[in-house]
Point group: C2
Chain length 205, copies 2
């Protein structure tokens, strides 16, 4: 996307000023986000398509000067189209995950996140399972596609490696033909232990 001819809204100017973002970047972030939670100089924490990320996942560093790279408009459709193409060309059933890098709170370095997926169960539901002592499990889901996204991102690299995809074998994931929705991988931020916890400190500071 070209930054040059973007019309900046009042909200764009506000966000730009408060968080020291270029007005054009602030405007694109607002258009791409469902919600802005807050920010610091140069970054806002946003939620878009049920993914919490700095600056709505907008990528300046991989783009040519004056341009930014946005997430695809309908990433689940893109993933499904890829899955069908692979089946038609190679007659194999695969799960497809669109991957971006993300940061973990208070940790150095990038892990991965699934922007969208097709043909693969996104989370493993363990609610009926027991732990070793026979107690019901408290942690009840495994973030299957995020975990596969993380190891794929790890292998693809961040720089000029030019590895646009990675093949994960023997992942243990379950393939499926049903349509996957972004809400299946996401918690409402109002329910999230980090979002609510970090905005509710023990004493006023």
């Amino acid at each position: 996307m070209d930054l040059e001819n973007i019309q900046i809204s009042d909200e764009g100017l506000d966000v730009s000023k408060k968080y020291q973002l270029k007005p054009e970047i602030a405007e694109v972030v607002i258009r791409e986000s469902d919600k802005i939670f807050g920010g610091i100089g140069g970054f806002v924490i946003t939620s878009s398509d049920n993914i919490m990320a700095p600056n709505a996942g907008i990528d300046k560093s991989n783009a040519r000067k004056g341009k930014v790279i946005l997430y695809p408009k309908d990433p689940y459709l893109v993933a499904e189209q890829l899955r069908r193409k692979i089946f038609l060309k190679m007659s194999i059933h695969v799960g497809v995950i669109l991957v971006d890098s993300r940061l973990m709170p208070a940790r150095i370095g990038t892990s991965g996140v699934a922007i969208a997926c097709a043909g693969i169960e996104p989370v493993l539901d363990m609610r009926s399972k027991k732990d070793l002592d026979g107690n019901p499990l408290k942690v009840t889901f495994q973030a299957v596609v995020d975990n596969l996204a993380t190891i794929a991102n790890h292998k693809m690299g961040e720089g000029a490696e030019s590895k646009p995809f990675a093949i994960v074998r023997n992942s243990g994931a379950t393939l499926t033909d049903r349509k996957i929705d972004s809400s299946e991988m996401a918690i409402d931020p109002d329910q999230c232990v980090y979002v609510r916890g970090l905005s509710n400190p023990p004493k006023k500071q």
Copy 2:
């Protein structure tokens, strides 16, 4: 650790009341944490040994009734001892990562985090590298041991699978003999885009 005979401090009572934790759990969380950032009913977000986690990583669900499982006292020493034992018994150089499951902000399901490691470079420094267009990289580290922890955790499972370890081959990670410090994987929470961003909303709410 046995919860029965724990002396509850005033701070323990405060935290217990504010965040609806059992007083004994609140007390152990305080003792195990370097800082409490905030919380919601039943959980506080803490930092301990440079790992941000709900309730200081204390595990009730895998413990027998009346007990909790804490992180090892000196996890880097434990990792180093394991590495040496493996070398002495099998004459192979390996990197050792102690793994716990963790949650990502606003996502469903568990990924992994490295509690400690030995014999392996914890992050990949890409600050001197360029991206495809020759621009300096903005994302400059890859969270190598957290990413390997995530895929190991994915394979080990959360329930009664009884898989206490996973072997990762061809990880691309760099082995090393130098001592690793927990600060190499962690950002000071005061510098963290999530911690600062989430506590600095666009409008007073």
